[in-house]
Amino acid sequence: MPYLLILPGFVFYALFVLVPIVDTVRLSFLEWDGLSPQVFVGLDNYVQVLSDPNTWTSLRVSLVFVLFSCLLPVAAALLLVGVIARTKIRGLSFFRFVFFLPYTIALAVVAIAWRWLYAQDGSLNAIIRAVFGEEFVRPFLGDADLALPALGIVGLWATFGFVVVMLLSGTQHIQKELYEAARMDGAGPVREFFTVTLPGIRHELRVSLVMTLTLALRVFDLPLMATQGGPGYATTTPSLQMYRDVFINGQIGPGSAIAVLLTIVIFVGVALVNRLVRSE
């Protein structure tokens, strides 16, 4: 009977989530341009994708995104929350609102806004020009070395607020007595953070890590809108590579293989996080 109740929801889930997943796996074993008849080629697509240096470049790009939009924001947010948790701040809900705001904006919009900021005649370069002089002005998104960190910072900007709010919500249910007790035992702020705050927000920390890690590994709209994966392949993520293969180059097989491999990478990443940040 209870299963009957979830049936309507499950049908939708199966139709729009499970079926596409299975179909993608099937496509990854085919040679197909999206239009002509499909030919089964076994593992060829995987061999092709794994031996393509661009795949590894895109994985490297992904890892940089993990650094910028998962590890750094989580580290920074932990620091901030560590400070906030032990004091009472007036107007906290206002700050929460402000921090969270960037996360509510679609990444595609964020990308376009930052394109303007990063432009040769954009605000950032205007500041640089005024402070350091013309020779330090850079076309950030058009520079093969700077484009990736520049986009990374956008990722940081976009996810930081989310992580802060997540972790802050975790601190709400830490009993204040614990801090008092720790202080009575002579704990300093650092000790307090590790014995009271951190254990108290473990669940939230884990969820933050999982959410930002998956976001970072599959980020697509940001590089598509900001740089089209360029210059060259400097900001091409696996998702973008997949999109290009499937929708533009008519290489559905290799594109699907990238999707499957990326999913495995995400699985492993998330499993790792779950292991590292155990609830107990």
Binding site: V17, V19, P20, I21, D23, T24, V25, L27, D33, G34, L35, S36, P37, Q38, A119, Q120, P139, L141, G142, D143, A144, A147, H203, R206, V207, V210, M211, T214, L217, R218, T227, Q228, G229, G230, P231, G232, Y233, A234, T236, S239, M242, Y243, R244, V246, F247, I248, N249, G250, I252, G255, A259, V260, L262, T263, I266, F267, V270, N274, S279, E280
Partner: protein, 458 residues
């Protein structure tokens, strides 16, 4: 704690689902055979009653799009039973979606695709484009167009050869890449007589002068990864014979991109970036932004296709000029180009005669000849270059075109030979400009892409 563990797993699954699900909507397989040619065809929309004709349009430039809208209006007036549902996209987003759109259940009746393998070749092979041979006869296209305008839009029935076989698309206009200049800026840097720039040395001298004067010599906006390729193509024209380039673009055995001539061109291309002949933010600038910035007088030259003519004229007025890319070592002019994005008809259309009548109207009719002139380029018909032209910039462009063809200097777009060439060259060229790869590596990589595709075809 079990509960939390479960939620973590659910998160994992969700994350995975979102990723894998992304490709699950890539369309369905179709017959995989080029469609059979219709035999008995008509030339008007009358027999269908009140209908809606869906038309996809995807050319670069606001002026061209606006003139096209006017053509659609007057087509509707001439055919009161037809309502045209016009969908305009910019070229980059059209290229990304056209295969999905055309293979869907409800494709547009008329669509502006692209010659070559990446789009029209793939659509033709899959049987999604109508064979236009019978319409060519009915509308007299074979007489109205230059042979070359139709040849580049033909594919064989087995879908293996480009340039022979059945007609699958009809181009509206002539298009080639040349040099727009800003006369006011040139005067400011001490160049009064533009005709003196018609040699490689003089042109390079002008670039140096611009640079010394603190003016961007050549405006380039390549963030979409295609405009730089046209600059490189012109440099190829300095060192490689047009026939040789055509042979390569049309997949003729034994052709190569990895030779001395192409190497000189790639080396120049890289050097132009290093020397500051291009704006330093070229790779972060979109084509539209580059057009606007050139229109604001931020550069001396803008090397791009004639599709920018309308927009450049609008912003620069009388200061705008157009010339052929100066002749290289051979002393002959050469330029990449041919015809603009051609119109095709979906094999699934319910109104083939009406769709064909529309294509005829926007490409081959007398109205089309005038409309194309208004859009800033001659139509692809024989009448096109003879049309009455009042605009001096356009006159310049047409005169230059005739000079180019009289020297047999026109060669075709170099992204044609393989389905992935455009995106491949687009990224590799940016790496070349960034100094990530050497000119030699660029040429080798491009040739490798070509050779790999040749292998799959045999």
């Amino acid at each position: 704690m079990l509960r939390h563990h479960r939620s973590a797993r659910a998160l994992t699954a969700l994350a995975a689902a979102v990723t894998v699900g992304a490709t699950g909507c890539a369309g369905t397989s179709s017959s995989g055979q080029p469609a059979a040619a219709p035999t008995a065809v008509g030339t008007s929309c009358d027999k269908y009653g009140d209908i809606k004709l869906t038309v996809g349009m995807s050319e670069a430039g606001e002026t061209i799009a606006n003139e096209f809208k006017k053509q659609v209006e007057s087509f509707q007036q001439a055919n009161p039973n037809v309502t045209v549902d016009l969908q305009i996209k910019d070229w980059a987003s059209s290229a990304n979606t056209i295969k999905l759109v055309m293979s869907g259940n409800n494709p547009p009746d008329v669509m502006q695709g692209n010659s070559g393998w990446a789009i029209n070749g793939a659509l033709w092979k899959a049987g999604l484009l109508l064979n236009l041979d019978a319409y060519a006869k009915a509308f007299g296209w074979n007489d109205k167009f230059h042979e070359s305008a139709l040849t580049v839009n033909k594919f064989t029935t087995d879908g293996k050869v480009l340039g022979e076989g059945s007609l699958v698309a009809v181009p509206p206009a002539i298009q080639y890449v040349g040099v727009f200049y800003n006369e006011a800026v040139l005067k400011k840097i001490g160049i009064d007589d533009v005709s003196s720039l018609d040699s490689k040395e003089a042109f390079l001298g002008a670039l140096d002068k611009a640079k010394e004067a603190g003016v961007t010599p050549v405006m380039l906006g390549d963030s979409e990864k295609w405009p730089a390729l046209h600059n490189l193509s012109l440099l190829n024209g300095w060192y490689v014979a047009p026939e040789q380039i055509n042979n390569w673009a049309l997949n003729r055995e034994g052709s190569t991109y990895d030779d001395e001539g192409h190497l000189k061109a790639s080396t120049d291309f890289r050097a132009w970036m290093q020397k500051g002949y291009f704006n330093s933010d070229a790779l972060a600038t979109s084509f539209t932004d580059a057009t606007n910035r050139f229109g604001r007088g931020e550069a001396a030259f803008f090397v791009t296709g004639t599709w920018a003519l309308g927009d450049v004229r609008k912003s620069l007025g009388d200061d705008a000029g157009f010339m052929l890319f100066p002749a290289g070592e051979s002393g002959k002019h050469a330029a990449v180009g041919g015809y603009s994005l051609p119109f095709s008809i979906s094999a699934k259309t319910k109104y083939p005669d009406c769709a064909a009548a529309f294509v005829d109207y926007v490409t081959a009719s007398d109205e089309a000849v005038k409309a194309q002139i208004a859009a800033g380029r001659p139509s692809a018909t024989k009448e096109g270059v003879n049309a009455q032209i009042d605009d001096p910039l356009l006159k310049q462009m047409v005169t230059e075109y005739q000079r180019l063809t009289s020297e047999n200097g026109l060669f075709t777009w170099e992204d044609w030979p393989t389905p992935t060439m455009l995106t491949f060259q687009g990224s590799e060229a940016q790496r070349l400009l960034s100094g990530e790869i050497t000119p030699k590596q660029y040429n080798e990589a491009v040739q490798q892409n070509w050779a790999d595709y040749m292998e799959t075809r045999s």
